[in-house]
Point group: C2
Chain length 363, copies 2
């Protein structure tokens, strides 16, 4: 398949919003024992649960390393397609491509540079050479053409409304481990060219400075054009309060690409939670990867949900706010089924269901 | 994708003949330095030539090991799809699946057991664990269901006419390295069940006893129902004469599944040829793999051509019989373009264009 020497914007392509119709969902199978406890077996069971839930609504493809092909194929239901795609870890949102479409219904993909959330500056593992090829391999499997974007970007660091607007965070996109030679204006220009957008709304920070450097997909997202959902807590003593308040203020005063002021809804945060000694004891120690230590913060968020065809998939944590989070989504996505599942095992690795999925639009 | 606990015959499926319409062609990228000289670079250039030729007529997918993905993608034209499929060597005909169809147009595949042409008895390399998964991975990529056949069989060891008949050789299918616990009658029954055929025509021997144990695809094939093409030489001093004469006699006296006597055409053999010292010097020595030594016979045959949509792809050798071989095919396949290419580099590894391709029927 071809690599197109142009940009989506120049060719009339745009990235659709997550709620637009999907052809399917892409995921990557977890296995690295320095991030997933107990040889990744608990995580793999969680992946099976998420993939099975999404497969009720749309096709799911699971990329796996060669040595996990048989095991993944055996653990997953027949309805999930399992394909060999070598990878260094399992965060398809960040490692995978972003798909773009045009008005004629053609689908292409954007292959970002990926450097494990900060490269040699503050990246989470080394090397990330297999991850770097994942989008190209997806393009080949699907038989679609590819744009190669000339900068570092992860899918979880931005959300689009499908109508010209993107939300992101300064903490991540301006981090010294991503694109230190690009100015804010140059990054805005690249986002416009490769996502087909015309307006960037810059939030300040996310809630996991040491992992993704503050991906927006834990703190805010669009739910439809002109309408956003922001993580929120009333507790001024919560360390996340200042971060979320700052973002909320920005959103309330922002307008989108079409000049609309945003309608802002809030999503409760789960209570702060930390790793237990049992949870960290099964994680391999490897120099150069982020150590998991008992008492460390677990970056849990209900905002890290995933919108698939006819459903919204929401991680819950056995937390006092679980029911309210589900109710918020049911109110904001009235035509969709809200599917909940236990999200703790996934967030122990650093993210949640939004981080481990990537939608392919129907086109 | 599902593994079906039944057989193609029981479900009304049959393997179509090679000349029936294809959805595309599958290949595997060569790389192992103990079979392909000079780090497989000359072989890879030959693969590019074959894949490019076939891609003029139908979609081609190239399976590659992870460490050759970038190189293969760079060497092959955009028109060839490149997907990660780990493998031990590049003989898709033998390692890959056989596809079956039913009258409704559904396509499934048969996943044979593969043991590197003889397993621990006289197989050509060890291990073959990656090869064993290739058909299942193809089923997943294509999203089709799979039959798992309970015996060892390679695609190059048989030819079907699509109307109930299969040709094979005793030397291969009754070899002690394949299915030593199965009788000839049990093997016939399995061929019937998994290829959807009702008649087996048993030839005696092929021309490469030490490599594939006499695959039929170097000595005879169907060109349409009721019509076969047999390798032939008039030279009684040629070591292949007795082998080919024996097979020819069998074919001339055989009837097919529909009771038709076979119309038998002959294809000249290229003159016998041997490895040069230059050709063998670039092959790595590895204990347990077949050594390549200067003066060894190279099993070249024009019968090892490949029929794709609207074309026939024929290896030539700079031999006195090249033109006649092409003329035979043009006469037998009047509606198709005969595409020739230099076949020596491929046959240095032990086979030719038929051995390195596998057709997926359109269904």
């Amino acid at each position: 398949m071809a690599t197109i020497d142009s940009t989506p914007q120049a060719d009339g392509f745009r990235m659709p919003a997550e709620w637009e119709p999907h052809a399917g969902t892409w995921m990557l199978w977890p296995q690295r024992p320095d991030n997933w406890r107990d040889g990744a077996k608990p995580a793999q069971r969680a992946w099976v649960e998420v993939a099975s839930a999404i497969a009720r609504f749309e096709p799911v493809t699971m990329g796996v390393n060669p040595d996990q092909f048989e095991n993944a194929r055996a653990m997953l239901p027949d309805s999930v397609r399992v394909v060999e795609i070598s990878n260094n870890d399992s965060w398809m949102r960040d490692i995978g491509p972003s798909f773009v479409v045009n008005d004629a219904g053609d689908v292409r993909l954007v292959h970002w540079h990926f450097n494990a959330w900060g490269g040699l500056f503050d990246g989470l593992y080394f090397p990330w050479d297999k991850d770097e090829l994942v989008p190209r391999k997806i393009a080949e499997i699907e038989g679609i053409d590819r744009y190669r974007a000339p900068f570092v970007l992860e899918g979880g660091s931005f959300h689009v409304d499908g109508e010209g607007t993107v939300i992101t965070t300064e903490e991540c996109l301006l981090s010294p481990g991503r694109n230190p030679d690009l100015t804010r204006e140059e990054i805005e220009a690249y986002l416009a060219e490769y996502l087909g957008i015309s307006k960037v709304i810059w939030l300040k920070r996310g809630i996991d400075p040491e992992e993704t450097n503050g991906h927006v997909d834990d703190v805010a997202c669009f739910v439809r054009p002109g309408v956003v959902l922001a993580g929120w807590t009333e507790d001024e003593g919560d360390w996340r309060y200042e971060i979320l308040a700052e973002n909320l203020e920005i959103l309330k005063n922002a307008t989108d690409a079409k000049g609309r002021p945003l309608e802002v809804h809030t999503m409760p945060m789960p209570n702060t939670m930390t790793y237990t000694a049992e949870e960290t004891s099964g994680v391999d120690v490897v120099e150069g990867t982020l150590p998991r230590e008992a008492g460390d913060e677990v970056p849990a968020s209900y905002v890290n949900f995933y919108v698939c065809n006819d459903a919204v998939v929401l991680p819950i944590f056995g937390d006092a706010h679980d029911a309210e989070a589900a109710a918020v989504l049911q109110r904001l996505f009235p035509g969709r089924e809200v599917v909940t599942f236990p999200g703790r095992e996934i967030v122990l690795g650093g993210g949640n269901v939004h981080c481990i999925t990537q939608q392919q639009p129907r086109g």
